[in-house]
């Protein structure tokens, strides 16, 4: 038995080696730019422009210190973290309410409502820039945190994603909650939410990344550098000293620091995320 298993293993060995090689090279291709960025931040200006130098002779940790202490980058990161956290919290909340209504409640015009919501999804974002700009201007919210947040309170993608997840919940569970005197609010947060937590988490992750990195819209409605999000901030930082004067090592350090929160978040959530997949639906099929 054992020898057969071993034989089998050897028989498939070339295949798995090949598989591993392909995966490893793809993985390397993915992580290379990030590694290059992180390592380049430790180089001197000369080392950085010389492609034969892979690792710096003396790591210039001062580059990171300079970005952290003497540049507005931490401020941009804080801006991005704050704006995206608040925005995503609202998007999750509004998405959950709307998806719940569309899936579990019966009311006149439900189909039409959802069609309108989905219709909005079809409109290209760029087409809404001007009307939204005018709207924000009239509300006096240009160049404010509130403007950045309010213009993204609802994510249609989130509504759609949560609706799909809610539709997987057996109707009996919702009915059992109704028999148990639970109102809609309680049903949503005590019964529906715990069952669809993985979807909430994956949506939160996607939305956070999108919001954190958002460039076009924030740069249209904000002007003061104090309000810049990271992408915009990096650009300021980048062009500050003109194309020839750019200190690439500092740009690399700034970029690495800007990316770090997302990587950290991903590492933290992914573990949680996988653990929560495969939850039982509680209803015997």
């Amino acid at each position: 038995m054992e020898s057969r298993a071993v034989k089998q293993k050897f028989k498939h060995a070339p295949l798995s080696v090949l598989k591993l090689a392909v995966l490893a090279s793809l993985g390397f291709a993915m992580i290379f730019p990030f590694l290059w960025m992180a390592v380049s931040a430790l180089k001197t200006r000369q080392e950085l422009l010389d492609f034969s130098v892979i690792l710096p002779a003396v790591p210039q940790w001062g580059n990171y210190a300079q970005v952290l202490l003497d540049s507005p980058i931490p401020r941009y990161i804080a801006n991005s973290v704050f704006v995206s956290a608040v925005t995503v919290a609202y998007q999750l909340f509004s998405g959950a309410l709307l998806a719940y209504a569309v899936v579990f409640m019966n009311f006149r015009g439900k189909g039409a409502l959802f069609a309108v919501v989905l219709g909005c999804y079809m409109v290209p974002g760029a087409a809404t820039y001007i009307p939204c700009y005018i709207l924000l201007a009239k509300m006096g919210l240009l160049d404010t945190y509130s403007g950045l947040i309010i213009s993204n309170l609802v994510s249609i993608f989130g509504v759609f994603l949560l609706r799909q997840a809610f539709m997987q919940i057996p109707a009996e569970l919702y009915e059992a909650a109704r028999m148990d005197n639970a109102g809609h609010w309680k049903t949503l947060w005590r019964v529906v939410f715990p069952l669809t937590r993985p979807t909430f988490i994956s949506f939160a992750l996607i939305a956070l990344i999108a919001c954190y990195n958002n460039y076009m819209w924030p740069s249209l409605i904000t002007n003061s550098p104090d309000l810049s999000l990271v992408s915009q901030g990096l650009r300021h930082f980048f062009i500050e000293s003109g194309a020839y004067g750019t200190n690439w090592a500092l740009v690399m350090a700034a970029s690495t620091l800007v990316t770090a929160p997302l990587l950290l978040l991903f590492a933290l959530i992914q573990k949680w995320f996988i653990a929560s997949i495969g939850a039982d639906t509680g209803v015997k099929g």
Partner: protein, 345 residues
């Protein structure tokens, strides 16, 4: 007081023809009433209408003399056990049972007391901290029962609660439910398509077909005196034998009688040559199959016009071949052209 009255209920889904049309129903207070019928007869819909989970096109529901129009399911004073248990998977057994009580704003001390009492009734004391997914089907069903018991409702609605359990467990929970009903003394309404469950547990059976009541009676009456051919053919295993009166050439019957029926349990099998008793119908046929059930043997007899089943306690039923099926006059049931019962003196 928790009798249930359905008045002039009509229910349709979308623009389809109604599944229930002008239904009037009265369910006795404190009884174990079974809604019995084949799939699609509307029995679950009726239960859900009583629970308030389903709206009606017209008609009203009264529970304990109170009109339930516009009353939310949770406020109707009814508890429900679902076919698929419908336990909250992310909550422990205790939390599942407690959820309704918390929503009813019952103080902690009373909640604990009630939970202890209900889990003791269903024998789940040791499972309070488990999640539903680590319980067996039977245990999950008990949690669902405890969740309903704990609310101390006046009415207990059950939608085929045993259909996902194996035969042995089903038989056991059947007797448990009878005991539970006697202990609680409240109104049970139980939906099933299984006549064995209906006959064994019910104090009253409402037999339904296509959204209409075909007979409402105590189980023995339903068995002994079916009001129509549908009831005759639905109850019993195998169901009643129905033969055309014409085919039997029976004489001395009122002209209204078109069908004659008798239970397989009352049919006797005799060798063609045996002397036949007086005042009985006899049908000659071919014995083609015998099923040994342990205490009984079911014999299938093919005649010229139909198939007849005879269930006999005889240890030595006749050999395969030509036999005569005999049914005494006193065991015969008569039905007219509209398949309704005709009393013949």
């Amino acid at each position: 007081m928790s009798s249930i009255k359905l008045k002039g209920i009509t229910k349709s889904y979308g623009k389809n023809t109604p599944v229930i049309k002008n239904l009037n129903l009265s369910i006795t207070d404190g009884g174990f009433t079974i809604l019995l019928g084949p799939s699609g007869c509307g029995k679950s819909t009726i239960l859900r209408i009583i629970a308030g989970l389903e709206s009606t096109d017209i008609g009203s529901v009264e529970i304990g003399g109170r009109d339930m129009s516009g009353v939310e399911p949770g406020d109707r004073g009814v508890a429900m056990v679902f076919q698929n248990y419908a336990l909250y998977p992310t909550m422990t057994v205790r939390e599942n049972i407690e959820f309704g009580l918390k929503n009813m704003k019952i103080p902690k001390a009373e909640r604990d007391e009630r939970i202890d009492e209900s889990v003791r009734m269903v024998g789940l004391e040791d499972f309070l901290d488990r999640k539903p997914k680590s319980l067996s089907g039977g245990q999950r069903q008990r949690v669902a029962l405890a969740r309903a018991i704990v609310k101390k409702s006046e009415v207990f609605l059950m939608d085929e609660p045993l259909s996902n359990l194996d035969a042995k467990l089903r038989a056991q929970i059947r007797t448990d439910l009878i005991e539970l009903h006697r202990k609680l003394g409240i109104t049970f309404v139980y939906v099933t398509h299984d006549q064995v469950e209906a006959m064994s547990m019910g104090t009253e059976i409402i037999l339904l077909e296509a959204g209409a009541v075909r007979q409402q009676a105590v189980p023995s009456r339903l068995y002994d005196a079916p009001e129509n051919l549908f009831a005759a053919r639905f109850i019993g295993s195998p169901p009643m034998n129905v033969v055309e009166a014409k085919a039997l050439g029976a004489v001395g019957l009122p002209p209204a009688v078109k069908h004659i029926a008798f239970r397989p349990e009352k049919a006797l099998l005799m060798r063609a040559s045996s002397p036949l008793p007086y005042d009985a119908v006899r049908i000659r046929g071919e014995l083609t199959a015998r099923e040994m059930l342990g205490d009984r043997v079911v014999c299938k007899v093919k005649t010229d016009s139909c198939c007849i089943y005879a269930k006999t306690a005889d240890e030595f039923p006749p050999e395969y071949g030509t036999v005569t099926v005999v049914a005494h006059r006193e065991h015969l049931h008569f039905f007219d052209d509209d398949e309704r019962r005709v009393e013949v003196s």
